[in-house]
């Protein structure tokens, strides 16, 4: 095959650049400028796919993004294969590997086509009525069968080799569409100097003018006008022209989203992204998106070789391809006549079958006849002949009263169908503008705008070229704040049509299949069945029959479906409802929407100044909120358990060092800082002296624990607040909210200082000796610097806020140094501690050590439903305070009721058994299900310092159950535990004061 259907001349393809590709393994040639569809048609290939349900042979129907049938798998190399590409929008590129879909074993012989034989059973919604017996067959038999038959192409199963970009832009005027209306609008808008973006989904700007034959604008051939206009626009610096860019979404406040296909058409993208998502905030949007042709509905209107009439014209004029040698145009309107004339001139044998009475036709009739086209007026289409390619069109005369005369079969290898035109109102509808039905045009038109938007031209039901240009120009000017107008002279456009839902037929309509939704195999009788069964809203009909739910989202089927429903109910069309159009206008790749937000850029990974040191020292890390934290530091041959056991012992026996930089830190400053703290935390703050620390407990207004952390009073008017790692942002937000909105009278400033300070915890009996040589200006003696004190001074010459605090129960310090000094100070401490066997430890050891002491972790012992008393911290609450956030809620009935879960320790009977965190606690393991659960294990570890496993749990009335036995779930059953005090180590707390 060598482009036997390519015309000897004409079209906008570049005949000097042949391009070869494969279709189902056969090598095929086209030209630069072809789409897959035009190249396939140039080689006589119409049959390119199988339909969704009946697996019927389907061909190329359209030249644009409304194509429902010609969906191909396209591969551009490894990691660059994807399904469901519309042949009509894929630009030809050397080396494309394309395949048809939804068949087995081959396109020509498809076992699934047996479904077509069952079509009398497989009608709309049949699956709701069956596959129910026996019950177990649904999951095992029916559903797997249905799933295997459904779907279209095959999803990619390897990571994408391409990358995607994202761009935000602002403009004064966004023009959607580069057809005549859009170009005129862009001209006028950019005349003013305002910033203008113009986008069009096609590879080449010009819209319908690209396939013009006789049309002229201001005396020039239309293509010439396009070229000149583009040159003008291109020269204007305030204009961004974006071909290959689909405006797919119109969101709130003129936020408009579009995808630019950057490199799919390029053989060597040189690292450029595949697609770019544009998110444009436009001052005004001019929608000039054109209109879509409707197919005619008659029996077997889905054969390969049946195309939209205007698409035939596009293939002839724009691509230099004759879709058939003998073409019949079946129409109910005028526009198909021009297609017929152009096809005739290109050498095809052409016949027109027009439903309209001779008297109802316009000047197009005489013109076509003059051009030598045979025209049958007042003829309906009964059906088609053929299987994998149309071979004939069966037509019959029809009188105005509807009587149908004798059938006659017109031999043909291609049929162009035209049932009229539908304005493209998708974006207008997405912008939440209200649509209004126009009976004369048989179409929904943009009514009241909801945003700063104007829809104009064919999208507004205006099909005349001169009027489109004039209106486009005026709309563009107005959008840019100008009142300029321009007059255009152009060839009149003939697009009138007689609306018809289903072509009259003498066949039993209950027996024929006239397709409405070609991809989903929905026929006119399916729609009628749905209406008979009570589905009368168009939304119900859509969902019951699946019409309009295919990948063209009803671009071809909507009006026909609506019309049939209205006709069936004998109600005016608008009363059936309109479909609310939702984004995207055409299917949009996930990749474009994701853009660069992949891997590390999906969510940033936060690391501390000491992170690299930990990496270099072999740490294993765990994800904690956005952070990566050192989890443990295994030595050669150690597993996690061994490493943690060693680290735990080292801290209690000598000294350990821990990176606590991830703790949230907030500086609370101002004359009213103490008062503010008093209101935000349960604790008393007014009398805390500068240089002292206090454990702070914060509640939400509902009385439940929100966060905790040590707070140091740095000065009379200055608090250094620490929060949990995950809670930092939440706590600052919470504080800002109350400060700004409830107590704006308080003179306080809040600043996040999490990133300013690195925090190094040095813990253990040798902690003081480790840091002493490095610290200046601070007396570290126990008398001068007791537990829960804070001093400012220097360490290794760097300024420090030195806290004497401990989350381990040992003598300990938390050394805050400016983040830039973090690693240097850490290394100095590590060197200094070598003689004491200083051991770096990670979060796991931190957890074990604090659990040995019964210290809670907010988010582990608490879960947003826990009060201070529940975890034994009621003593923290300043009883004398009249108010603090959460106080009132603590007095609510359920928060003071008995039976609340309380923090306790648990010892498993088997001291080597480490209970599972999350395991449930019951009194009687032999009770029937559902069992009464008393609580759950919140923390559980093997404790080398206690010499056995330990666990913390919250248990109903747990403090009253001390010493009793309970049962805890294990993967295999239950194990017995005893309830003990939650402080497992150094219960008297002597070590901390060493």
């Amino acid at each position: 095959m060598a482009q036997h259907f390519r015309l000897p001349s004409g079209g906008r393809i570049d005949r000097s650049k042949p391009v070869s590709f494969t279709f189902n393994g056969s090598k095929i040639e086209g030209y630069q400028g072809d789409t897959l569809a035009s190249a396939l048609l140039a080689n006589g290939v119409h049959f390119v796919g199988r339909s969704f349900k009946y697996h019927r042979p389907r061909g190329i129907m359209s030249h644009g993004s409304d194509e429902p049938s010609a969906l191909l798998s396209v591969s551009r190399g490894p990691g660059r294969t994807d399904p469901n590409n519309r042949a009509s929008v894929v630009e030809l590129r050397e080396g494309l590997v394309t395949k048809s879909q939804n068949h087995w074993p081959s396109l020509n012989f498809d076992v699934g086509a047996v479904n077509d034989l069952f079509s009398p059973v497989f009608v709309a919604g049949f699956y709701y009525k069956t596959f129910m017996w026996p019950r177990s067959f649904w999951d095992k038999v029916y559903e797997p069968f249905i799933r295997a038959a459904a779907g279209l192409g095959v999803a990619p199963d390897v990571p994408d080799a391409d990358r995607y970009a994202n761009r935000h832009a602002h403009c004064d005027v966004l023009v959607v569409g580069m057809g005549p209306t859009g170009l005129a609008a862009a001209l006028a808008a950019s005349e003013t100097g305002k910033r203008v973006i113009v986008a069009d989904e096609q590879a080449e700007p010009g819209g319908s003018l690209l396939h013009a034959s006789e049309e002229t604008i201001d005396g020039k051939p239309a293509a010439e006008w396009v070229k000149e206009t583009l040159a003008v626009l291109d020269a204007r610096e305030n204009v961004i022209l974006l071909p290959r860019t689909t405006v797919f979404g119109y969101y709130n406040h003129n936020h408009v989203a579009m995808t630019e296909r950057v490199t799919d058409h390029v053989v060597d993208p040189k690292g450029a992204p595949r697609e770019r998502l544009w998110q444009v905030r436009a001052g005004h949007v001019v929608i000039a998106a054109g209109s879509l042709e409707r197919p005619l509905v008659f029996a077997d209107n889905d054969r390969p070789g049946v195309l939209l009439a205007e698409s035939v014209r596009v293939f002839v004029n724009r691509y230099g391809v004759l879709p058939g040698r003998k073409i019949v145009f079946a129409t109910s309107g005028a526009s198909a006549y021009q297609a017929a004339v152009d096809a005739k001139r290109a050498g095809a044998h052409v016949t027109i079958s027009d439903l309209r009475l001779e008297a109802d036709c316009g000047p197009e009739l005489a013109k076509a006849r003059a051009a030598g086209v045979e025209v049958l007026t007042a003829h309906t289409v009964i059906g088609t002949v053929g299987a994998k390619r149309v071979k004939g069109l069966i037509v019959a005369p029809v009188t105005g009263a509807g009587a149908i005369g004798p059938r006659r079969t017109l031999d043909c290898d291609c049929v162009g169908i035209s049932g009229g035109w539908t304005p493209t109102v998708h974006l207008f509808s997405q912008s939440r503008g209200k649509l209004a039905y126009d009976e004369a045009l048989d179409a929904f038109l943009p009514g009241t705008s909801a945003q700063a938007e104007t829809t104009v031209g064919a999208s507004h039901g205006d099909y005349d070229l001169a009027r489109c240009l004039t209106a486009g120009y005026a709309a563009g000017a107005k959008a840019a704040g100008s009142a300029a107008t321009a007059r255009f002279e152009a060839t009149p456009t003939l697009k009138g049509f007689q609306p018809v839902r289903v072509m009259p037929t003498d066949a039993n309509p209950a027996k024929v299949r006239a397709f409405i939704d070609f991809q989903n195999d929905v026929t006119a009788k399916d729609i009628k069945l749905a209406v008979r069964e009570g589905f009368q809203s168009i939304e119900h009909v859509k969902r019951y029959t699946t019409t309009g739910m295919a990948t063209d989202q009803g671009k071809m089927s909507n009006m026909n479906a609506l019309g049939i429903v209205a006709g069936q109910l004998d109600r005016p069309l608008p009363s059936v409802g309109t479909t609310t159009f939702r984004p995207p206008y055409t299917p949009t790749t996930f990749g474009a929407l994701v853009g660069p937000a992949r891997d590390a850029l999906f969510d940033p990974i936060r690391t501390t100044p000491i992170h690299d040191w930990a990496v270099e020292h072999g740490a294993k890390f765990e994800p904690v909120s956005l952070w990566r934290r050192a989890w443990y530091f295994p030595k050669a041959g150690e597993d996690m358990h061994a490493a943690v056991a060693r680290e735990c012992k080292a801290v209690r026996d000598g000294v350990g060092v821990f990176d606590a930089s991830t703790l949230g830190k907030i500086e609370v400053v101002g004359p009213d800082a103490a008062e503010f703290m008093n209101r935000m935390y349960v604790n008393p703050w007014l009398k805390l002296e500068p240089g002292k620390c206090r454990y702070g407990l914060m509640l939400k207004e509902d009385g439940y624990i929100m966060d905790d952390g040590v707070v140091a009073r740095v000065a009379q008017d200055r608090f250094h607040v620490t929060t949990t790692t995950g809670g930092a942002a939440r706590v600052l937000n919470h504080m800002e909210d109350y400060l700004q909105t409830e107590w704006p009278d308080l003179n306080v400033f809040l600043t996040s200082i999490t990133e300013e300070w690195a925090v190094i915890a040095v813990q253990g009996p040798k902690a003081r000796e480790t840091i002493a040589p490095l610290v200046s200006d601070i007396d570290l003696s126990p008398e001068a610097f007791p537990h829960m004190a804070m001093r400012e001074g220097r360490i290794c010459g760097a300024p420090t806020r030195l806290f004497r605090v401990s989350f381990t129960g040992e003598l300990g310090f938390e050394i805050n140094v400016p983040a830039d000094y973090g690693r240097a100070v850490w290394e100095a401490i590590y060197e200094s501690g070598r003689k004491f066997g200083i051991t770096p430890y990670g979060t796991e050891t931190m957890h074990v050590l604090r659990a040995e002491k019964g210290y809670i972790i907010v988010g582990q012992e608490t879960d947003g439903t826990v009060t201070p008393d529940d975890v034994g911290l009621a003593g923290m609450i300043a009883k004398a305070k009249a108010d603090f956030v959460g106080k009132r809620s603590l007095a609510r009935q359920d928060l003071v009721a008995s039976g609340r879960k309380q923090l306790v320790g648990l010892f498993a009977d088997d001291p080597s058994l480490v209970l599972e965190e999350g395991a449930q606690v019951v009194a009687d393991p032999n009770q029937p299900i559902p069992m009464k659960m008393l609580g759950h294990v919140t923390s559980s570890y093997d404790s080398p310092n206690v010499g056995r496993s330990i666990a913390l749990a919250v248990v109903a009335d747990g403090r009253a159950l001390m010493g009793t036995s309970l049962f805890v779930t294990t993967p295999g059953g239950f194990t017995r535990v005893s309830v003990v005090d939650p402080v497992f180590f150094d219960a008297k707390g002597e070590r901390i004061n060493a």
Binding site: Y544, F590, D603, G864
Partner: protein, 417 residues
């Protein structure tokens, strides 16, 4: 009601399907009913069905302002599971799951309940603790839920990437095998057909404009766009519009209504065997019988009745999906949409009496109401029939916000440390 069967289907196939009846009638409203249900979504229709089938109360109207099943019933991602933590939630969702298991047969309408399993992925130590807590609690409540290791997750759902080098490595997962998905529209239609055949009037395109109360303050009927309709009892099941409807009776609700978005991809051949959810990256994914990847996003942050959200929410959801499943970046979004979800402070529903006599409410299902549809309708029917809550919905009172006896499933997943 003509039963659906192989026999009826074949005989209709031979009859060109001319003999099928309406699946529900389109009656004019009667002057009054024993029970008027405001809201023709899945929950409202199920309530009507169970009132008729379980309690013999058939003088019932379901009033729907648009078309039945057109709200959140027809806009959700159809996930069904019952592995909730607290006894109260587990009780109602498991009640629903048990009803789902026989629903197609009970309704004689294939709702395509597909027990393909819901796998919730753990991405950090906190997730592991939290999910195991769920697994154990579920086990003691008689609900299936099991812990899977990272490798077992991969075996159950091969598309999962278990590399430990990705942004949020998979540390295991909790799997409920009995969980799955269903065909959302069919649920509304099946209940409607079942209720209708028992005498319930389903009245579409009828908007409630007011709730009439007598001198004692008790509710006695509803003013609608199709006139006044008297009612001995009124059940409001209006999801996102509950605040608006309840305000008509002077009842202010602890609810806020947010846009919730979802999307589907183009249909492809089977490539995803189950439902996967990830709390850490905020995304969930399944594949429909038709072949579309069905993806749920989060709510927008502001109150809105617009059924439309921002693109950034969609984008962030797809970021998360493609982070977990990078092979899907070349898939295409086919359709996106929004619903309006009514959210309570503790993310659990309110089902029961209100301060107004004869006025009952079933609301606050937030982002997870679809899965509860049969259970919710069943217990609400009991409540409307007897005036008292069923023991399963007894904890879900309006009063719990006063006493503090919240059922806070969301808080239980809180993260900090």
């Amino acid at each position: 009601m003509r039963r659906f069967s192989y026999r009826s289907l074949i005989s209709e196939a031979l009859n060109a399907h001319q003999g099928w009846q309406r699946q529900w009638r389109a009656p004019d409203p009667k002057p009054s009913y024993d029970v008027v249900i405001v809201g023709g979504g899945g929950h409202g229709l199920a309530t009507a069905y169970y009132l008729a089938s379980q309690h013999g109360i058939t003088n019932v109207a379901v009033i729907e302002k648009g078309w039945i099943g057109g709200g959140n019933t027809g806009r959700n991602t159809t996930i069904i599971r019952s592995n909730y933590l607290y006894d109260e939630s587990a009780g109602i969702y498991e009640h629903a799951l048990k009803l789902w298991e026989g629903l197609s047969q009970e309704l004689n309408y294939n709702v395509m309940f597909s027990q393909r399993g819901v796998l919730m992925l753990a991405h950090n130590v906190h997730d592991v603790q939290s999910f195991k807590r769920h697994v154990y609690a579920n086990r003691l409540n008689g609900i299936d839920n099991e812990w899977l290791s990272t490798e077992e997750c991969k075996a159950f759902c091969p598309p999962i990437n278990i590399s430990q080098d990705i942004r949020y490595p998979v540390m295991g997962g909790a799997l409920q095998r009995r969980a799955g998905t269903a065909r959302h529209d069919a649920v509304a239609w099946g209940y409607a057909r079942g209720a209708d055949s028992r005498g319930v009037d389903i009245i579409q395109n009828c908007e409630v404009k007011g709730i009439r109360r007598d001198a004692s303050g008790a509710a006695v009927g509803v003013e609608t766009t199709r006139g006044y309709i008297g009612a001995k009892r009124i059940g409001v099941v209006a999801a996102g519009n509950t605040s608006v409807v309840m305000q008509m009776a002077g009842v202010r609700m602890p609810l806020e209504s947010y846009p919730l978005q979802a999307l589907v991809s183009e249909p492809v051949k089977p490539c995803f065997p189950c439902v996967v959810m990830s709390n850490a990256v905020h995304a969930y994914l399944s594949q429909s019988d038709k072949g579309e990847l069905v993806i749920g996003a989060g709510t927008d942050q502001y109150v809105s009745y617009s059924q439309q959200g921002g693109l950034h929410i969609t984008n962030h959801t797809l970021d998360a999906i493609c982070e977990m499943f990078p092979q899907f970046t070349r898939m295409k979004m086919l359709r996106s949409w929004g619903g309006v979800v009514d959210v309570t402070p503790d993310r659990s529903p309110i089902i029961g009496r209100t301060p107004v006599q004869n006025l009952f409410v079933n609301c606050g299902w937030g982002t997870g109401g679809f899965k509860a549809t049969p259970g919710s309708g069943h217990v609400f029917a009991h409540t409307l029939a007897t005036g008292e809550p069923h023991k399963i919905n007894a904890p879900f009172t309006l009063d719990r916000f006063r006493t503090g006896r919240l059922i806070d499933e969301a808080a239980a997943a809180a993260v900090a440390h």
